[in-house]
């Protein structure tokens, strides 16, 4: 018994519910035999991976779905061993080079050359080339991206590369200019409701309008999240008729609590309490950027209009510092203190003016 997300994931391009134009293009490209390197980008949960899998199926037929997981060992020039998990079928191979951090260049060079220099052995295969899927391409280091450049041109006859990424900002221009860019936008509310209804019908029940709207609102364009939430709700009550509350993830409520604490009181003692909570969040592996963003969103909901822009401004600044710096907690705390001081200043000024009057 698998999750609904996987169970009802579309397997062929015809089953996809939205972006019909895009599906038509992908089908046409797969049929033409002249398949370019591709770069799929879009927010998470928009359906990039699903589309890639469907395209592969279109290219190679059912064989592309027989996956096996393999562990490869690569050797760095400094004789360090790297273990990388690869998912592969007879026709394609899928890697997440960011797993190995700084050594991603080695993996890219070795693996791609190995694949590029062997031709397709299966004579009955529909295509002469193999496909390499690179996940999280935006976290590839510059060196690794540079290593891709010439390889992509040189071995075009044996290999196509599909890059999958959230944003194209961190990819170097030469890579972008060698790929066909495919933007996968998040689905609109109506499209998401359609999909939810479809999943409901497959499972043998109707999704009430109100529930569907609430779920899509909460999911914010993330289809995966929406389907997961729907399944969770269904587990809570089989009829979906009682007034249901969409359970927020623990970390989110926790972050909201931190936001409230900042607003309630601004004092050194409170900073210490917030600090303990932040540590708790970080030690549960919640990405610090998400923590910062969630708290900031919560805080700006409750403060005066004049402060909102300022709070977001500092959030942006400390977020960058967090990326560049090493210890995340310093910057999170610095932002908390900054917000507290801004908040206090605002009140202070208002009190003063009142006093003057």
């Amino acid at each position: 018994m698998s999750l609904w997300v996987d169970k009802h994931r579309p397997r062929v391009l015809d089953d996809l519910h939205y972006h019909a134009g895009l599906s038509a293009r992908l089908r046409a490209l797969a049929a033409s035999g002249d398949f370019p390197h591709m770069l799929f980008y879009g927010p998470s949960g928009a359906g990039k991976k699903t589309r890639i899998a469907c395209t592969l199926r279109e290219l190679f037929g059912k064989g592309a779905e027989k996956l096996k997981i393999d562990q490869r060992v690569f050797m760095t020039p400094a004789r360090r061993k790297l273990d990388v998990n690869v998912v592969q079928s007879n026709y394609h191979i899928e890697i997440t080079p960011s797993e190995v951090g700084n050594y991603d260049r080695v993996v890219i060079q070795e693996l791609l050359k190995e694949i590029a220099q062997t031709q397709q052995v299966d004579l009955s295969a529909k295509q002469r080339f193999k496909v390499v899927i690179i996940n999280e391409a935006d976290s590839l280091s510059r060196d690794a991206q540079a290593a891709l450049r010439r390889t992509m041109e040189k071995y075009m006859s044996n290999m196509r590369i599909i890059l999958c990424t959230n944003s194209t900002s961190k990819l170097i221009a030469p890579i972008k200019s060698r790929c066909l860019l495919v933007r996968v936008a998040a689905p609109t509310t109506e499209e998401m409701i359609d999909v939810l209804r479809h999943v409901g019908r497959k499972e043998g029940f109707d999704v009430p309008d109100k529930i569907a709207h609430e779920i899509t609102e909460d999911a914010n364009g993330n289809m995966r999240k929406a389907v997961l939430v729907l399944e969770a709700l269904k587990m809570q009550s089989t009829d979906l008729d009682k007034p249901l509350t969409i359970a927020k993830p623990d970390w989110e409520t926790y972050c909201h609590k931190v936001g409230d604490m900042i607003i309630q009181e601004q004092s050194p003692a409170r900073v210490m309490e917030v600090r303990a909570k932040l540590y708790e969040l970080l030690s549960h592996c919640i990405p610090p950027t998400i923590v910062l963003k969630t708290i900031a969103e919560r805080v700006v909901q409750q403060v005066d209009e004049s402060l909102k822009a300022e709070i977001m401004h500092w959030a942006a600044i400390y977020e960058v510092r967090m990326r560049i710096g090493n210890k995340k907690i310093y910057h999170l705390e610095a932002w908390v203190v900054k917000v507290m001081s801004l908040y206090k200043h605002l009140f202070y000024d208002i009190n003063m003016t009142d006093f003057d009057d």
Partner: protein, 366 residues
């Protein structure tokens, strides 16, 4: 098809690629240095070397897609011909391991070999085939400082029998001692007339019908990068040919392929930030400015547009805006610059675009 056969004979060591599926960038790579577009000065200098058989060490630099690699490859072909090409030319690029150990072993070994005797050209043409080898270091700016330093002496010691050609985008990343050993050639971005003539040539030889609008969109989206515009053209022609019935390529197709954000989206965002000429309802808009801006930004992020692309297009719009004052523009420019730096450092896209939106909004409100 004689065109392809000839090429196949020239490079027999390459795996046979079905010419129809070959990227056009490779297919239409210049075969001789005279074919290189728009780099008159460099071509004129290099043409002399074909006759005098004297070649300095060279450093080619310039933005991507201006023909640096094509020029040196074409020159090497013309100098040595297909039969000597393999034994006389070593091409290394960033996809090869190029640490200091490779410089010490592979490059040094190749550099100190005495050039082999000239093989008889099989295609009947006479090639100058001068008595030296060429080592092409493509994308040399991604070599480490140490590796570059190790090259210094090698370049001098074997200068008699080996010439180096470094190819890079940023000449400042090449250490000074190396740069001073080479004669430098700057490749300038292609002007629009030579780009358009090259694109038109490719389009006619591939039987793709393109309008002038499409060509001008290609030029404007690729910023003087010929490779990029050729790739876009090929992708667009693939897409248009694969639909049934084949449709004409439109400028908006090109924009979508190039990842350009549609003008309507940018104008809409700009209007929310108050860039448009300030009308009567501007005050009411400013009253709930924060929420408006945030909603717009969230919408754009959901659409999946790239933040750096939004930034550069918004920048163009603001800087060329007719009614904004110089002071407002310079404030905005500051905001854009800081956000661009932050994005390069890997900052969160949504936060940065929101930050840009809010600060531009603030800068524009009196």
């Amino acid at each position: 098809m004689s065109f392809f056969k000839q090429q196949g004979a020239k490079a027999p060591q390459k795996q046979a690629v079905d010419p129809q599926h070959q990227p056009w960038v490779e297919k239409y790579r210049p075969k001789t240095i005279d074919d290189v577009s728009a780099q008159e000065h460099t071509v004129a200098v290099l043409r002399k070397t074909l006759t005098s058989s004297n070649l300095p060490h060279m450093l080619f630099y310039g933005p991507p897609g201006t023909g640096k690699t094509s020029t040196i490859l074409a020159l090497a072909r013309q100098l040595f011909g297909p039969d000597n090409f393999r034994s006389r030319v070593l091409e290394l690029n960033a996809s090869d391991e190029r640490g200091i150990s490779i410089v010490r072993e592979k490059i040094k070994n190749f550099a100190r070999q005495t050039p082999r005797a000239q093989a008889v050209a099989s295609d009947g043409n006479a090639y100058p085939c001068p008595p030296y080898k060429i080592i092409i270091l493509d994308e040399a700016d991604s070599m480490t400082q140490d590796a570059q330093a190790a090259l210094r002496r090698i370049m001098e010691t074997y200068a008699r029998i080996t010439r180096f050609c470094l190819v890079c985008n940023y000449v400042t990343r090449i250490i000074e001692p190396l740069a001073s050993r080479c004669s430098k050639f700057r490749f300038k971005p292609l002007d629009s007339s030579s780009t358009s003539s090259r694109l038109a040539y490719i389009a006619t030889s591939e039987n793709v019908s393109v309008t002038d609008d499409v060509i001008s969109t290609l030029i404007s989206t690729s910023h003087g990068d010929l490779r990029r515009s050729i790739t876009y053209l090929q992708s667009a022609s693939r897409l248009s040919a694969s639909t049934d019935p084949p449709t004409q390529i439109t400028p908006s197709d090109i924009q979508e392929i190039a990842g350009v954000v549609p003008d309507t989206v940018i104008n809409d965002l700009a209007a929310t930030l108050g860039v448009e000429p300030i009308s009567g309802d501007a005050t009411s808009r400013r009253a709930n400015g924060f929420d408006e801006v945030r909603k717009k930004v969230k919408g754009i992020i959901r659409e999946g547009y790239s933040a750096s692309q939004i930034l550069s297009q918004l920048h163009d719009l603001v800087i060329e805006h007719p009614t904004l004052t110089a002071r407002q523009k310079s404030r905005c420019a500051l905001v854009f610059a800081e956000a661009d730096k932050a994005l390069c450092d890997g900052a969160d896209e949504e936060l940065q675009i929101l930050e840009v939106g809010l600060r531009v909004h603030k800068a524009l409100s009196p």
